[in-house]
Subunit: 401 residues, 2 copies
C-alpha cells in the first residue's frame, strides 16, 4: 500500500499561518463566526483548493475539502474556531494535519481523503454546534434560536458567513469513516512521556444555565437579615455542590462553574440577579444523571432557603461515546509502528466533534501530548516533533488495511 | 424672618425633567461622566441661571449655583449622577430641592442660598469622588490615576466635561454650612410611617478590590484535585466571611460583594482569575478595623490553602461622620414645626457627600422616606407629598435662627 509522505515544514507553516488569524500573544482569540474565524476559514478554503480538494461551506459554516471523484472516502479533521481566549492548537492541529494528509495522499497517489473544519466546536451557542447540526442531532431551525452569553442568536451569527454558504449540507454517504487528531488538552501523555494517545471513548458532558433572582438594593441601608442577595446564594450553591458531589464521583469526574454574571454588578449594590453555567462530565450516563439530580435539588434548596427565585435554561447533554473499535485498531497499528512503546489507549476527558460524527460514521481519535496538560489558554503548546509524529500516524492510519 | 415659599409643582417638574436624562423605565442610567450625566449637568446649569444663581463648574465636574453677592451663605445640594442602574431620586432629590429653595429664597428676599451637584457620588472611580476632591481629602493628580471597573482613568473621564470646566475649585469660605436632603434609601421611615429623618451620623464605609489568581485550564481534562480554580476560591471566601464576621457585628453592620468578574468567564474553562470588590459599613471605626482584619486574613488563608495568588487594590475608606449638632437642631426645629410627630433622629446607613463636606463646613442632612426601603434600583420611589414636605423643611431650616 502506498505510503503517504507528509511534509513536516508545510504542516508547521500552515499551523503558524492559521495561528495568525486572531493571534494574541502565543494563543488566539478566534471564537466561532468572529471576523478572525471567518477570515481563517476563507484562507483554509484556499489552501484546500491549492491541495487539489474542492472546498465546500455548508449553511452552518462547516468547511469540507473534498477530493476528486465521488467514491466514498475517509474524512479527517477537527475545528478551527477557538475559545474566547484559546491556544493555537486546540482544533487547529486536527484540521491542518487532515489537510496535509489529504494533500500528500493526492500527491503520492494514495487513497482519497477529505478534510473538514467544523464550526463552533467551542460552544459559543451549544457544545459542538457545527458537527451536532451536520450529524442531524439538532435541526437547524431549532439551533438558530439558541443564543450566546451576549444574547446573539445563531441565526444572526450565521449571517456573517452567508456569502460563503454553499447552500446545502455535504451528504454523509460521501464518507466511509471519520478520524480526528487533536491535542490531549490534559496532563496524561505529557506526565508519562507518551507521544500518541489512541482514544477509546469520549466522556459525556452536561451543562445547564442557572439563574438566581433576589432583590437588588442599596448595599448600605439594607440590613443583612432582610437581604435577598443572589450572589450569596450562588456562593452557597457552589460550596454545597463540592460537598454533595464528592461521594458520587470518580477521580476522572469533573464539574465546573466557569461563567458567572452578576446584575447589575456594581460594588455598592446588593446583587439582585446572577446567572451561571454549571457543566459536569463523566464517562457513565448513570453518574451524569445522579450528578444532575444533586445539582438541581441543591440549587432549589439554596434558593428556597434564601427566598431567591431559581430558573434553569440552555440544558445541553452529550452522552459518553465509544470510538469505533476497528478504526481505533487502525490508529493503534500505526502508533505501534511509528511510536513503539510511546503510545497508549486512553479516554478523552474533553468533548470532540468525533462524538457527534460517530452517530453517522465509524469514528476514532488520536491524541498528541499537551505540555503540562495546559489547554484553553495562551500557554497551550505541543513539541513540534509530536505534531509531526501525530500527522504521520494519521497518514499511516489512512492507508492501513 | 421671611418664610421661603417653595413651589411644589416646580420642584416635581424639575425632578421629572432631570429623570429624562438617561431615563430607563421608572429609573435612570446616568453614571458619572456619561453622556446623560453631562447633559443633565448642562441643563441644571441653565436652571440655576434661570433661578438667578451663577452656575460654576469646577475641574472635577462639580456644579455650583452661586447667589448674587459675595457674603458667605448656606450651601445645599447633593449629586445628580446615578448608579449604573439607579433610581430617579437618589441624589437628584437633594439637588432639585436645593435649587428650588435657593430660587424661592431669592424670589421672596430670603437669605442667600447656594446649590450644588457633586460629581461621581456613586463611586465609579472611588466613593464620593467629587466632594472628596473638593473637600481636599484627595489631591486631583492622585485621583486622576484612579480607574473604574473597565480600566478608564478619572483623567480620561474628566475630559468629557473639559468644555464646561471653570478652571478652578469654588472656595469653601464662600459658604457658612452645608445641608443635604436625600431619600433614606432604607426601610426605617417607610416602615414606621415617619416622613422626615434628621440624620445624626453617617456610617463609615470601607471597600477593597480582591484578586484571586489560579490556573486557567480546560474544564474537561483537568482533574478536580489538580485545579487551581479562582472562582472556587472566591465562593469559599464569601462563605467563610459570613461565618467569621457574624460574631463581630451589630444588626446595622453590613458587608457586600456586589462586583465580581471572572476571567475568561467561559463555561468550558476553569477560571484562572477572579476580581471582586468587598465593601463593609459600620458606625464604629474599631469595628470597621476588626472586620478589615478578618476579611484580609480570610482571603489570604483561602488563597494559600488552594494555591491561589491573592492581591488587594483600590482600598478606600471613609470614616463615620457625626453631623454638626447645632445645624441638625435647626433641621429638627423645622421638622417639629412642619411634620409634628412624623419625624425622627436616625443614622444614615448610606454614605453621602455631607460626610466629605463636614471636613470643611458644619454639615447636616435630612431624609424623606423610600417606599419599601428600595434604592439603587429602578423601583426606587417616594410619595410626592413627602418630596414636597422635605423641601419645605429644608426651606424652613434655611431661615431658622
Amino acid at each position: 500500500m502506498t505510503e503517504i509522505a507528509i511534509q513536516p515544514e508545510r504542516l508547521l507553516q500552515d499551523l503558524e499561518t492559521l495561528r495568525s488569524f486572531g493571534r494574541c500573544g502565543s494563543g488566539v482569540v478566534r471564537p466561532a463566526y468572529s471576523e478572525a474565524d471567518v477570515a481563517a476559514r476563507r484562507w483554509l478554503a484556499g489552501r484546500m483548493a491549492e491541495a487539489g480538494l474542492q472546498p465546500v461551506f455548508d449553511p452552518v459554516g462547516n468547511l469540507f475539502g473534498l477530493p476528486p471523484g465521488s467514491a466514498p472516502c475517509l474524512l479527517m479533521g477537527s475545528h478551527s474556531d477557538s475559545q474566547p481566549e484559546g491556544g493555537w492548537l486546540d482544533g487547529a492541529y486536527g484540521v491542518i494535519a487532515a489537510l496535509e494528509v489529504a494533500r500528500a495522499s493526492l500527491e503520492c497517489g494514495g487513497p482519497p481523503v477529505a478534510a473538514v473544519s467544523f464550526q463552533d466546536e467551542e460552544g459559543r451557542f451549544t457544545t459542538l454546534t457545527g458537527s451536532r447540526i451536520w450529524a442531524g442531532l439538532m435541526p437547524l431551525d431549532r439551533a438558530d434560536e439558541m443564543t450566546d452569553d451576549e444574547g446573539t442568536t445563531l441565526a444572526e451569527a450565521r449571517r456573517t458567513m452567508a456569502a460563503l454558504d454553499g447552500g446545502a449540507f455535504v451528504a454523509p454517504d460521501r464518507f466511509t469513516a471519520f478520524v480526528e487528531a487533536h491535542i490531549e488538552q490534559g496532563p496524561v501523555l505529557d506526565s508519562e512521556g507518551g507521544r500518541i494517545g489512541v482514544v477509546e471513548n469520549i466522556v459525556g458532558i452536561r451543562s445547564e444555565r442557572y439563574r438566581f433572582e433576589g432583590q437588588q438594593n442599596h448595599a448600605g441601608t439594607t440590613p443583612m437579615r432582610l437581604r435577598r442577595d443572589a450572589f450569596q446564594g450562588l456562593a452557597e450553591f457552589v460550596t454545597l455542590l463540592n460537598v454533595r458531589l464528592a461521594p458520587l464521583v470518580t477521580l476522572a469526574t469533573v464539574w465546573t462553574i466557569g461563567h458567572v454574571a452578576l446584575h447589575p454588578n456594581a460594588s455598592s449594590i446588593v446583587p439582585g440577579r446572577v446567572d451561571c453555567t454549571v457543566q459536569w462530565r463523566d464517562a457513565e450516563v448513570g453518574r451524569l444523571d445522579r450528578m444532575e439530580a444533586v445539582i438541581r435539588t441543591t440549587a432549589e434548596e439554596v434558593a428556597g432557603a434564601r427566598g431567591l427565585g431559581c430558573t434553569r435554561s440552555a440544558y445541553a447533554a452529550i452522552e459518553p461515546t465509544r470510538m469505533e473499535p476497528a478504526l481505533a485498531a487502525r490508529i493503534e497499528q500505526a502508533a505501534r509502528q511509528l511510536a513503539p512503546g510511546l503510545w497508549r489507549r486512553m479516554p478523552s476527558g474533553a468533548l470532540h466533534d468525533a462524538a457527534n460524527v460517530s452517530h453517522l460514521l465509524p469514528a476514532a481519535m488520536l491524541f498528541v501530548p499537551s505540555k503540562r496538560g495546559i489547554s484553553h489558554s495562551f500557554e497551550e503548546d505541543t513539541a513540534h516533533d509530536d505534531l509531526v509524529l501525530g500527522a504521520r500516524v494519521l497518514a499511516a492510519a489512512a492507508t492501513a488495511v
